[in-house]
Symmetry: C2
Subunit: 218 residues, 2 copies
Amino acid sequence: MRDSYHETLDGITDDLVEMSRLAGAAMERATAALLGADLALAERVIAADEEVDLRQSALEAKAFDLLALQQPVATDLRIVVTSLRMSADLERMGDLAQHIAKIARMRYPEQTIPYDFRPVITDMSRLAVRIVEKTGEIIAQKDVKAAIELERDDDEMDLLHRKLFTMLLAPSYRAGIECAIDITLCGRYYERYADHAVSVARRVVYLVTGEKVAGWRR
Amino acid sequence: MRDSYHETLDGITDDLVEMSRLAGAAMERATAALLGADLALAERVIAADEEVDLRQSALEAKAFDLLALQQPVATDLRIVVTSLRMSADLERMGDLAQHIAKIARMRYPEQTIPYDFRPVITDMSRLAVRIVEKTGEIIAQKDVKAAIELERDDDEMDLLHRKLFTMLLAPSYRAGIECAIDITLCGRYYERYADHAVSVARRVVYLVTGEKVAGWRR
């Protein structure tokens, strides 16, 4: 049987996994709200972000208590400190999903995303959700190999992001300035979401190997 | 004379103040590069971001050693843990200034910002720099009153940000989609920069009073 110290430490990992699950669900629904001009769903995503925030606060409190009462050293200390940073990334990912839901809400009952942009937005969202699902697995399994492979998914996100700009700047673009602003911001939100997920995965590599991944900071 | 433990703790505060100074200088120069289509200056801002990153790494290492070797409790522990979070915000502010410099570099030798948008961009940058200067003071002096007053500067930033969108959506806007994308992204960078600074100031309030400021999460 594990003692309460190690139970708390494992509990912090479980919280991070749960936060990635919530952030993934938020992004999936936010995109559905955006592409479906679904106000009720957008409102649900916006309200649900509080749960991610509460999870983070609870994790911070748990980590703080562990530091204060158990004074972990070496690897355990690194886990606690790094978890604080990972939880901040995951909390921010929840915010970014919320931002997309807020754009859907602001434009309702209009469609925000013009017809020809729907495939690339769908691709960006699917990729973002795939990345966060992998990140959750990487946290749970401490899977360094998968974490390194995640960089490729992030490159794919950058390609999609560039494609979005190419489409906006094409002479055939006719959807106007307001749409261009919305698309620019949504594109930025998906891209940042993936960046945060990759940053979380990199921290897992750091925890397991003690090595910072090249391109750690972006 | 102070012992080495308290010297390290004070050193962490000094590092945060220095990081705000660097982030402020970066934003001031990035905007000058943007409005002056100044490639050399943009390159200098982009290169200088490494110094902010190094400062943050050094602060993290210092905080980690303090946690491992001195096992601080109560207020001191809160200072160390909160400083880690504040340094992450300040590091990100450096990135955001760098993003603005990168837009200037990408558009060189063209002017990125059309003539009639220059005043509002100038105002956003000045406000951002004023906010980070105040944040540095707030960290150094642990000035709760000034931290609370900073919310008003942040409201002003939100107003300027909205003004930017109003101008982009005005029927008189003629500068095209590429400009609209650049302006949207720059606006977002200034606004996020201010958000991070305000978040740092709020953490000072938390450190001093133990209370989280309303609207802590945004």
